[in-house]
Amino acid sequence: MHLPDGFLPAWLGALGWLLALAGIGIALRRSDRSCDDRQLPLMGVLAAFVFAAQALNFPIAAGTSGHLLGGSLLALLIGPWAAVVSMTAVTMLQGLVFQDGGLLVMGWNILNLAVFSCLSGWAIAHWAGYRSPDRRRRLAGAFVGAWLSVELSAMAAAVELAVGGTFPLWLGLPAMAGSHAVIGAVEAAITVAVLVFLHAVRPALVRPREAEGRPANWVVLGLAVALVFASLSPLASPLPDALEAAALAGGFAGRATAGPSLGLVDYTWPGIASPALATLLAVAVGTLLVYALGTLLAGWLGRRR
């Protein structure tokens, strides 16, 4: 999921860096409060742990194997803000040492892989039952949190690519969301497996931590960020997308019929004149729907026995 340079324009890369640095600044200050003096070796050594975990292939079941991204697992174990710092270190190291991810776009890579994944994984897990005294509900919460954190990071990348004009949203979003559905499932499975083990060996680690504030705040924060994305969408290319272009070129334009798309054909809202405002609203509604679905699903899974 590391974006290389060239896939986003310069102005967007700069914006990503600004947002990333802001996020890192907040994370550093807040992790200070929960980790005390030992945070430096803790976050550093655990960043090395995540790096090693990401690099290796772990057997899952019946001969298949997969990778761990680790953001939400780390957030549940050491708190979301310390996890953000650790994962930022991982992402930056991957870019620096292995050229995995570009320099200009590193801000967005940090946001996707460190900030969004840790915060959303943590928040959704808590929302979905991680605070419950019932162990199974806690694990279910962690499962949902891990899965959705991967999906949200992937979708964020798709939105960034669309806003940057590299890949249109109709291609990027389903491609990223679809491909990361399996990756998310693997992440969720491994996360739960680790938590089960740790619960047996060192239960104090897996007990939910009180010190980090109510998850509702973070869900709202995440929503706000998603809406910021949505508000950038009018800047995406107003030209007809490739499908239409191909249709026009091939003379098929007349034969195209609007498929079922909730009335939001061409990312416009019927009845609203300004195309920019309409696009804004359409993407905003789309984002809200995805987020709402995610949290509803999390809550529903959390309430099931």
Binding site: G6, I24, P41, A62, G102, L195, L235
Partner: protein, 247 residues
């Protein structure tokens, strides 16, 4: 490795200016990118770096080429051709795909030069002098230090596990057996890392650590550094003028 003689912070600024400049050149700015590559070659020669080695390292980072292949099919514009099963690709799309590739590759090359010319610790110190928070920089330093060690521990544990696995699949038909053992493996690795971080903390305390990471290298920009940075910024402005605008 020869000492580059240029402050790492200045090198960072120059590299960033290069990457941004390359990004600002508009789609199809082939001559501009060729000139940029020329700049990189000059830098590599000036630093006495092996070109073959640089090339090899940058090729390792190119798997994303696959993603670029989709661009011609999704970029609107005059149709340039068609695949047997009906997908059309556009001229603009081809140009764009080539441009993305050029920008990405040039950026990787610049990055590789930076990484080969300087030890990582110097680069981290350079970042800190430029304003990146010390705690983050030191965290990266620790992660770098313990990277190989923990990876080796993980590999050993994986090998030990494989040595005990029957090879035929999980016993008793329990499909989550492998998952459980992976959970145990990663969980153990996590605990070992956690415990190690505690011992490292004790070792740091024993040598006087009081809560803030050390900043020991005092790097100051010389006239040469300033010249490099100004040239890089000049090049950046040139690219911007060429691209005529920020978007």
């Amino acid at each position: 490795m020869n000492e580059p003689g240029i402050d790492p912070g200045a090198a960072w600024v120059a590299t960033l200016a290069f990457v941004v400049g390359v990004a600002l050149l508009p789609d199809g700015g082939w001559s501009g990118w060729l000139a940029a590559y020329g700049v990189l070659l000059l830098a590599a020669l000036a630093l006495r770096l092996s070109l073959v080695r640089l090339l090899a390292r940058s090729l390792l980072a190119l798997p994303f080429v696959v993603a670029v292949a989709a661009i011609p099919f999704t970029t609107p514009g005059e149709v340039a051709g068609q695949l047997p099963w009906g997908w059309t690709f556009s001229h603009a799309g081809l140009v764009k795909a080539g441009s993305v590739l050029a920008r990405a590759w040039l950026s990787i090359q610049a990055f590789v030069i930076l990484m080969v010319a300087y030890p990582l610790t110097d680069l981290l110190t350079g970042l800190e002098r430029l304003g990146l928070p010390g705690l983050l920089v030191n965290t990266i330093g620790f992660a770098y230090r313990y990277l190989n060690l923990i990876r080796q521990e993980a590999e050993r544990m994986l090998r030990a596990r494989q040595a005990r696995a029957a090879g035929k699949g999980p016993a008793g038909g329990k499909t989550w057996f492998e998952l459980a053992s992976t959970g145990g493996l990663l969980g153990s690795l996590f605990l070992r890392s956690l415990d190690r971080s505690e011992r490292v903390y004790d070792a740091m305390l024993a040598r006087g650590y009081q809560g803030n990471g050390p900043t020991w290298r005092q790097l100051r920009w010389t006239g040469r550094d300033l010249l490099l940075v100004l040239t890089a910024l000049g090049g950046l402005i040139l690219c911007w003028w060429q691209g005529r605008g920020w978007v």
